[in-house]
Each structure stands twice: as structure tokens, then as C-alpha cells.
């Protein structure tokens, strides 16, 4: 009998070890796969921006996008990951109630010489989580990259991209996308799919930069009226936008905390980054409904394929903050409303003399804001955190989040681009802009045997 019990205990122990190994491999692979999926976002932004540029600037736009991605990686290793764990409770570096924040915790898990910041046989999560966050960071830089095409200096842009991707957005994430984040614990801020901490931050940062950068030559006439400056390949732009949307599925996977691991919120069901329960299945309903509503809304208003695909993106962004909570028809309506408003916001910006070449502010800044407010309007009263007697989601909490995200995005973008402007490091010279940036500084040709460079009316 005793021998049977010992044998059974050994079998159970072996079985438990096997289950743990399988679950560990599953969770590690889950986040690992978010990374190639999110690389699709960057393949998409690359095609999108090159297509939206005139042929004389196509490769320069591509270089800018590739380099931003590459340079964010080391800076996010040096400092970005540490910021995320150090600052959730504000700027005090104190530890939050969940015990996963503050100076000591950040120093332990995220300093670049920490034992967890490289191959470690006891740690199967840090690298894949860090990698997913790097891709979020690179997404913010790509959002900025689109709005500033055809006239920004490469090195000036690189500085802005590093600041946005490795400092600004991750501070926003610490505050509003972390279970110890002060916006969450004090105001019940809810932003499941990063409508605020990624899209709104990047959109408002871009607006600050674009104001200082100024419009492309030929964009505005002497009377202030605007000219359309079409890119050289609308098909490339549209395919790029669809690739971004494909990559969004990886982005949203990265917003989910899987169950069953030591760092998970539970053993049975997926959770948001706040520890609140959700399902990938439920998120799927809402993502597709928001996507669809965005396309239909933009088509109804513009009939333009560029805005239709931007509407697809905008529909998902509009729903992103509450993708874990919406009733699917609600997601369609929120995406539809956002996409209907989006072209008017782009037009409003243009009428102020601001040349946002791809509508980055309208799609990401404005719709990120709409997404946050939509949760405050239609998804109030949910417990905002893991645990008992926690604060609930509310309109006021979302409104505070909107104000913080808007200011945290816009102010650094405006101030740093202004400093670059006054030191002559922001904008290319007029002669280079007119000739085209590819001919000036790129040792390759986008179309050596075809396509005549286009010019805008005022050129």
C-alpha cells in the first residue's frame, strides 16, 4: 500500500512537472509570436509611408522608418523597460500596492545588468515581455514617422523617435497600463488595448512636432488654402495599412496576460494587464466589429480608399480601450462614429495650416482620445483592478486619463522639436526638399527605370 502511494505521488509530481513545462512553453511562445506579428505593423508602416511619399522621397521615408525601429531597441533595453517598472506610482519611485513597481523592483528586474535582462534558465518571461514592449515602442515611432515625411532631417527625427519610444510612451504605460499605475489605482483608468498609452500619446506627440516642423513646400497656397499632395503609390499605401491591421492582432495579443504562470493573475482565465478577467475570444468579436465599423463609416463619408483603410485602423483604435468589455454591436458603432469624425478632424487640422501628411493625429491622437472617452461613456462601473473593493471605471477617470495622455504626448513633442528647430536640426533645406531627399542623400534609387517624380502645384 505504502509503495503504491509513493508510486502515485511520484507519478503526480511527474505529471505536474510536465504540465508546468507545457504551460511555460505555451506562454513563452504566446508572447514570442506577438513579436513577428507586430513586425507586420512595421512592414505596413514602411509600405504605407513610402507609398504616401512622392517618388522622389520614397526611400528616404523608408530609411527613416527602419532606423527608428532599430534605434529604439537598444534605448528601450538601456532605460525604457526600467522606466516602466520604476514609475507606476508617479515620479516618487515608491512601491505600489501590487508590489511590482518602484525603484527597488525596477532595479532588480529591469536594469540592463540585471540577471533577468539576458538568457536566464529560471526566467522564461522577461525577454518575450520586453520584446513585445519594444514593438509597442516602435509602433509609437512609426506613428510619428508618417506625419513628418518628406521634410524632416533624419537625425532630428531619430532623436524624436528615441524620446517618444524609449521615454515618453513607456512613462504613460507605467501610469496607465500597469496594475500599480496611479491613473488606474486612483482614477480607475481603463485602457486595455493601449488607445491612450500608445495611440493618443504618439498622435499628440506627432502634433507637437508637426507644428514646429511646418508644412511641405507647396502644401498651402498664399491665401491659406491647401493643396493635396498625393503619394506616388496608393496601392502600396493601402497594402501597408492592411498589414498594420494584420499586425494589430499581435499587438492585442500582447495586451493579454495568460493564466497559469507564477506571474499570471490566475490559473484559469486570461486577464488584462490590470488583472481583470477577459477572454481572447471576446476580444475577437470586438476587434472585427470595430474594424468593420471603421471601414463602413469612413467609406460613407469619403468614398476614398485611403480613408477607408485609415478607418479600419481607426475603428480598432476607437474600440481599443474597451475591447475586453464591449458588446460587439457597440464596438461596431464606436468604430463607425470614430471613423466618421476622423476625416473632419484631419480637415480641421489642415485648415489650421498644419500639414499632417498621413492624418497621424486624426487617426491615432483623436481616435485614441475617443476610445478612452467611449469607455467612460459606455463601460462605466466595472472593477478596474484585480482584487477586492477596488475602484471602478468611470467617465471622470477616463477624462483624467485623456488630459494626462494629451499633455504627456504633446508637451515633449513640441518642446524637443522646438529645440531641434532653433538649432537647425529639424527640417531639411528648401533646395533638398525641392530636389527630393532620395537624390540628395540616398545611395540607391526607388525606381531607376520608371516613374517620373511628381511635384505639387505650388512647386
Amino acid at each position: 500500500m505504502e509503495q503504491d502511494l509513493a508510486s502515485l505521488a511520484a507519478a503526480v509530481a511527474e505529471l505536474k512537472g510536465s504540465v508546468a513545462a507545457t504551460n511555460g512553453t505555451f506562454s513563452e511562445t504566446f508572447y514570442f509570436l506577438t513579436i513577428p506579428l507586430m513586425v507586420l505593423i512595421h512592414a505596413g508602416f514602411l509600405a504605407y509611408e513610402m507609398g504616401a511619399s512622392r517618388s522622389k522621397n520614397a526611400l528616404a521615408s523608408g530609411i527613416k522608418n527602419i532606423l527608428a525601429f532599430a534605434l529604439i531597441v537598444p534605448f528601450f533595453y538601456f532605460i525604457g523597460w526600467w522606466i516602466y517598472w520604476a514609475f507606476p506610482t508617479g515620479l516618487s519611485l515608491s512601491e505600489g500596492a501590487m508590489g511590482i513597481s518602484g525603484l527597488a523592483y525596477a532595479n532588480d528586474v529591469a536594469l540592463p545588468w540585471s540577471q533577468y535582462m539576458g538568457p536566464n534558465l529560471d526566467d522564461r518571461s522577461s525577454g518575450v515581455f520586453w520584446g513585445a514592449f519594444v514593438l509597442f515602442a516602435a509602433t509609437t515611432a512609426s506613428i510619428l514617422s508618417g506625419g513628418v515625411i518628406e521634410r524632416i532631417k533624419l537625425t532630428g527625427f531619430v532623436v524624436l523617435a528615441i524620446v517618444l519610444g524609449s521615454f515618453v510612451w513607456i512613462l504613460a504605460a507605467a501610469w496607465g497600463w500597469h496594475a500599480d499605475g496611479w491613473l488606474v489605482t486612483k482614477f480607475g483608468y481603463h485602457d486595455f488595448g493601449a488607445a491612450g498609452v500608445v495611440h493618443m500619446i504618439a498622435g499628440f506627440f506627432s502634433l507637437g512636432v508637426i507644428i514646429n516642423l511646418g508644412p511641405r513646400i507647396g502644401k498651402f497656397n498664399a491665401d491659406g488654402s491647401a493643396n493635396n499632395i498625393p503619394g506616388h503609390s496608393m496601392p502600396m499605401t493601402l497594402i501597408g495599412l492592411m498589414l498594420i491591421i494584420a499586425g494589430f492582432w499581435g499587438f492585442l495579443m500582447g495586451c493579454v496576460i495568460v493564466p497559469g504562470e507564477a506571474w499570471s493573475w490566475g490559473t484559469e482565465i486570461e486577464a488584462t494587464i490590470y488583472g481583470t478577467p477577459m477572454t481572447i475570444s471576446g476580444m475577437t468579436f470586438n476587434t472585427l466589429m470595430g474594424f468593420s465599423g471603421g471601414i463602413v463609416g469612413a467609406w460613407m463619408i469619403t468614398r476614398d480608399p485611403f480613408w477607408m483603410m485609415s478607418g479600419a485602423l481607426g475603428g480598432i483604435i476607437s474600440c481599443a480601450a474597451g475591447l475586453d468589455l464591449w458588446y460587439p454591436p457597440m464596438a461596431f458603432a464606436i468604430g463607425f462614429i470614430g471613423a466618421v469624425a476622423m476625416p473632419f478632424v484631419a480637415s480641421f487640422i489642415e485648415k489650421r495650416g498644419i500639414d499632417d501628411a498621413v492624418g497621424a493625429f486624426a487617426v491615432h491622437g483623436f481616435l485614441g482620445m475617443w476610445g478612452l472617452l467611449a469607455v467612460g461613456i459606455a463601460a462605466q462601473g466595472y472593477p478596474a483592478l484585480f482584487g477586492e473593493d477596488v475602484i471602478e471605471t468611470s467617465f471622470m477617470g477616463q477624462l483624467v486619463g485623456v488630459v494626462v495622455m494629451g499633455a504627456l504626448g504633446f508637451v515633449p513633442g513640441y518642446v524637443i522639436s522646438w529645440l531641434l528647430k532653433v538649432t537647425g536640426q529639424l527640417r531639411v533645406p528648401k533646395e533638398a526638399e525641392l530636389l527630393g531627399l532620395d537624390a540628395v542623400k540616398v545611395p540607391a534609387s526607388a525606381y531607376p527605370e520608371a516613374i517620373h517624380p511628381s511635384v505639387s502645384p505650388a512647386e
Binding site: 540592463p112 533624419l154 537625425t155 531619430v158 533645406p429 542623400k441
Partner: protein, 58 residues
């Protein structure tokens, strides 16, 4: 710069296993930072020369 443990087998090895763990991280971090700074400065100079060349043609 070597393995952070002395062993002739992987049996019983746990924790951080990356080369140089606990000893030379600072050196490599400084090297990476220097490489990035040098690359960006050279990129800045390339841009400057390219723009100056266009201006001088006009």
C-alpha cells in the same frame, strides 16, 4: 569574459547563464552606446554634407 560558472556539465546549472554575467556588463553597455552615438554622429555629418552639396549647386 567567460561563462559565469565553472562546470563540465549543464546538470544543476540555473539562473543567468549569459557570458560575462556579473562582471563585464558595463563594458558592453558602454560599447553599444558608443557605437550608436558614433553611427548617429556620422549619419548627421553625411546629411550635412549632402545638404551643403545641394545648396552649393544652386
Amino acid at each position: 569574459m567567460e561563462a559565469p560558472f565553472e562546470a563540465t556539465s549543464w546538470d544543476g546549472i540555473t539562473g543567468a547563464i549569459y557570458a560575462g554575467y556579473g562582471s563585464v556588463e558595463g563594458l558592453w553597455l558602454a560599447l553599444v552606446l558608443a557605437m550608436v552615438v558614433v553611427a548617429v554622429v556620422l549619419g548627421w555629418r553625411h546629411e550635412k554634407h549632402a545638404y551643403n552639396a545641394v545648396k552649393s549647386k544652386d
